[in-house]
């Protein structure tokens, strides 16, 4: 079947989609967006987390056909999404992240030294600065989940952060640096306003 939906603010079309495949598969294999990771395909790890009409979900558990006409934000579009949110919407009318840009997406700041890259969302920059990325496999899902929590709850307690990230597993960091990163992003967000 053919699928039409919005990905990172731009309309996209996917062809030859099998009715039983997941949104995660469509994103990775049909649209060439490998940012959302496939680790368990059973909702346990959260590394495939995306926003579906604004709500964080495991894309491995959403059937492709269910996203027809709906809006998805993936980690590749997170920086632009955060930028627009900070600007209070899309002023130019040509916002969002195109498929090619998303496919070729790379972090501009790769570590805290070269991290002037304005292309990163605050939560992405905070993960780099706090050293919250090791192998990086869990990172995209955590970024999407953490960014959504900070949008809802700009001053989270540690318990709030733990709860919001309880659906995301990390095998490397032991979570402490991830907690630091989210606290850092929240603090910077507070300074900015």
């Amino acid at each position: 079947m053919r699928l039409n939906f919005t990905v990172n603010g731009r309309p996209q079309e996917a062809d030859d989609v099998w009715e039983g495949e997941s949104l995660l598969y469509v994103l990775r294999e049909r649209l060439g967006l490998p940012g959302s990771k496939n680790a368990c395909e059973q909702g346990e790890c959260g590394s495939c987390t995306v926003r579906l009409d604004g709500v964080p979900v495991c894309s491995c558990l959403v059937a492709a056909g269910q996203v027809e006409g709906r809006e998805v934000v993936t980690v590749e579009g997170l920086a632009e999404y955060a930028k627009q949110r900070a600007a209070g919407g899309c002023a130019s009318g040509a916002c969002g992240t195109g498929l090619q840009d998303a496919q070729g997406w790379q972090a501009k700041g790769t570590d805290s030294q070269t991290g002037e890259g304005t292309e990163l969302s605050p939560v992405q920059q905070a993960f780099i600065d706090a050293g919250a990325v090791q192998c990086g496999f869990c990172t995209p899902g955590l970024l999407v989940a953490a960014d959504e929590m900070l949008e809802r709850n700009p001053n989270p307690t540690d318990a709030d952060i733990r709860e919001a990230l309880s659906g995301n597993l990390c095998r490397c960091t032991g979570y402490e640096k991830i907690m630091d990163a989210v606290r850092l992003a929240a603090a910077r967000q507070g300074e900015a306003v």
Binding site: Q42, P56, A63
Partner: protein, 296 residues
């Protein structure tokens, strides 16, 4: 595989009548796991997300009409006062991502003995509103669970809503698992005090082939509370009464040994949860009584 996309409830019923083997998919948190792992290859998948009123709820005078697809997150956020037991149970389901998608309709559709909504629904008292092109009926929750992962739905029927009695007293939910998030219950227990009828209702999860009530335990406790005038005098429940209630709850179990726990552990844990939830709810009932007397 064919993907059916009914835009309304009537279309969904018509599609289900035409293709009784069609598998409805709401949040997909059970269905997609089965498809991803090739445990299930249905001929028809039927998306319910487009049927808007399945995601709505209404608070009535006596009960809440909860649309089948209302996600757990919404129950936790909006119905804590009316449905405290179900809100507590919802909060223990999986993770935020899963709670944003999964709901009670799917939990009832799967009818796993480990589903967390079931003990809360049994304790609160509920009816499942199901419908087909042949008509609509309401199934009392006590008759809904028919066997391991079997429910009372006919092949052409869909769950439209669940009518759950609004809380008239304190409710609790307790669940045993290896950690806080993302845990399928080893066993679970729901308890609701109903001061208006002076009754107590229970629900046991994951300790029998289906979710069950501990009816003998309820009867014993109802009689003991009545006899001792507890509802009126608000005294602390006698330890021997709580103990016997807990033992009768354990006895209502018919558990198995599996990877999550042994049968004897489950029986024991259900007794512990029964005693604790009784103490918590009763303390809260006494507190509310004292507060209202103090105000009078």
């Amino acid at each position: 595989m064919d993907f059916l996309r009914p835009a309304s409830w009537e279309e969904a019923l018509a599609a289900k009548a035409e293709h009784p083997t069609a598998v409805p998919i709401a949040g997909g948190t059970d269905v997609m796991v089965e498809i991803n792992f090739d445990h299930r290859r249905p001929e028809y998948l039927m998306d319910l997300n487009r049927v808007g009123d399945l995601s709505e709820w209404e608070v009535g005078a006596e009960s809440v009409r909860l649309g089948a697809s209302v996600p757990y997150t919404k129950i936790m956020e909006n119905l804590r006062a009316e449905l405290p037991g179900l809100a507590l149970a919802s909060h223990t389901v999986a993770s935020p991502q899963i709670r944003n998608r999964g709901g009670v309709g799917g939990n009832l559709g799967t009818a796993s003995p480990a589903g967390d909504a079931h003990p809360a629904l049994l304790a609160a008292g509920a009816e499942v509103e199901v419908e087909s092109v042949r008509g609509s009926r309401r199934i009392p929750i006590d008759d809904f669970y028919q066997g391991v992962k079997r429910n009372a739905l006919q092949p052409d029927e869909l769950i439209r809503a669940v009518h759950i009695k609004k809380a008239d007293g304190p409710q609790q939910f307790s669940k045993v698992g290896t950690r806080n998030a993302m845990v399928i219950a080893v066993c679970a227990f729901g308890l609701a005090l109903h001061p208006e009828t002076r009754t107590v209702r229970t629900g046991i999860g994951s300790a029998a082939p289906t979710p069950v009530r501990a009816k003998a335990a309820e009867e014993f406790l109802n009689a003991a509370l009545e006899e001792g005038g507890f509802w009126d005098n608000g005294r602390i429940i006698t330890p021997s009464v709580a103990k016997q209630f807990a033992e009768l709850c354990s006895a209502a179990c018919n558990p198995i040994d599996d990877v999550r726990g042994t049968a004897s552990y489950r029986r024991h844990a259900v007794g512990v949860m029964a005693r604790r939830t009784l103490t918590w709810t009763w303390e809260s009932y006494r507190g509310a009584r004292r507060a209202s007397e103090g105000a009078a």
